[in-house]
């Protein structure tokens, strides 16, 4: 940048700042608050005048960054007592996030396969590096049926009262189960692709209550 450009930018900044300051002078109330506003405006003018020279003298000093740092320090100082509140808020945010993710996975599975999700539980990483990434997913799914059958099925569940949970991958004798095992694999690979979770951390259980009849 040539010296002419440098001077041009500098003078333009100063001119703009004085125009803005004179407009601000009009709109500030004329009581004893004026002194305080004048002080801040004075600081602003000093900053605008000397900023180009800092860039010439000391290239690695960024005043905007410095001010931002001070603001963070200040808010830390002011809100030191409110840390409890902050952690409570974080807890709430985590809960909302988890329930959103659960809803999303439920919808995904119901849209892409013919299973419906009975239960779902997700846990997420809480270290700083991977915060918010899903650690593992546990799913309990059952086959989707027509409305009447579904009602019957729920009735049956109430009367029978026990829900068999079968881990896919362990039961391999029956041909029907192996078919569903493939399905589970499909869901697993879909989930691991969409949410970047390792396959071994996804567990899918199949509710087969309705099939015993």
């Amino acid at each position: 940048m040539g010296i002419v450009d440098f001077l041009k930018l500098w003078i333009r900044d100063i001119a703009f700042v004085f125009v803005i300051v004179s407009i601000i002078e009009i709109i500030i109330p004329n009581n004893n608050m004026k002194r305080y506003i004048d002080m801040v405006i004075g600081l602003l003018i000093i900053i605008v005048i000397i900023t180009p020279f800092i860039k010439l003298l000391n290239k690695d000093f960024d005043i905007d960054k410095e001010i931002f740092k001070k603001e963070i320090e200040e808010s830390k100082f002011v809100y030191k007592d409110n840390m409890n509140l902050v952690s409570m808020q974080e807890e709430q945010i985590k809960e909302v996030y988890l329930s959103k993710m659960e809803e999303e996975i439920k919808e995904l599975i119901q849209e892409t396969t013919n299973y419906k999700v009975d239960e779902i539980s997700i846990s997420i990483y809480e270290d700083e590096l991977r915060y918010g990434d899903i650690k593992d997913i546990k799913l309990a799914i059952s086959e989707m049926k027509g409305m009447e059958e579904k009602e019957k099925e729920t009735k049956d569940i109430i009367t029978i009262g026990n829900i068999e949970k079968i881990t896919i991958g362990k039961e391999e004798e029956k041909p029907t189960i192996t078919e569903e095992f493939d399905k589970g694999k499909e869901i697993k690979s879909m989930l691991s692709k969409n949410y970047n979770v390792p396959k071994k951390n996804i567990k899918i259980f199949l509710n087969t209550t309705g099939e015993g009849e």
């Binding site: 407009i23 601000i24 801040v40 600081l43 000093i46 900023t51 002011v78």
Partner: protein
């Protein structure tokens, strides 16, 4: 012709306040002046927004960081709100409360100005060889 409206509202409410002060219910005078303040302020709010947006546009064109400008705007806003509250307290002859309101406003303004001040001091110290 909003000037006429604002001045009209001001004159009408002034007459009302004077009459109320002389009547046997002087405490309503305070309410009238409060409501007048709010009405006039809400009338100029849209225009004030235009002014502020123009100023923000100007500030973006310069090399100055936008954060300083928003700090100044915040301080002006605080000054106005504090003045509004303090004047109402003064109208009700509560000088002590008015000065407390002003004290609060001043402290908050100082807190807002502190980051700029500290950074400027840092800058000066670092520039010195």
């Amino acid at each position: 012709m909003e000037v006429v409206q604002i001045v009209g509202i001001g004159i009408v409410s002034t007459i009302l306040v004077v009459l109320l002060r002389q009547s046997n219910k002087p405490e309503f005078a305070l309410l009238v002046s409060l409501v007048t303040g709010i009405i006039i302020f809400s009338m100029i709010l849209g225009k004030l927004k235009y002014v502020i947006e123009t100023l923000s546009g100007l500030a973006r064109n310069t090399g100055i960081e936008f954060a300083y400008f928003s700090t100044i705007l915040k301080i002006i806003g605080i000054a106005y709100i504090v003045e509004f509250g303090a004047q109402i307290s003064r109208d009700a002859n509560e000088e002590a409360i008015a000065s407390k309101i002003e004290l609060g406003g001043k402290v908050i303004m100082m807190v807002l100005a502190m980051p700029i001040l500290l950074a400027l001091l840092d800058l000066i110290i670092k520039i010195l060889p």
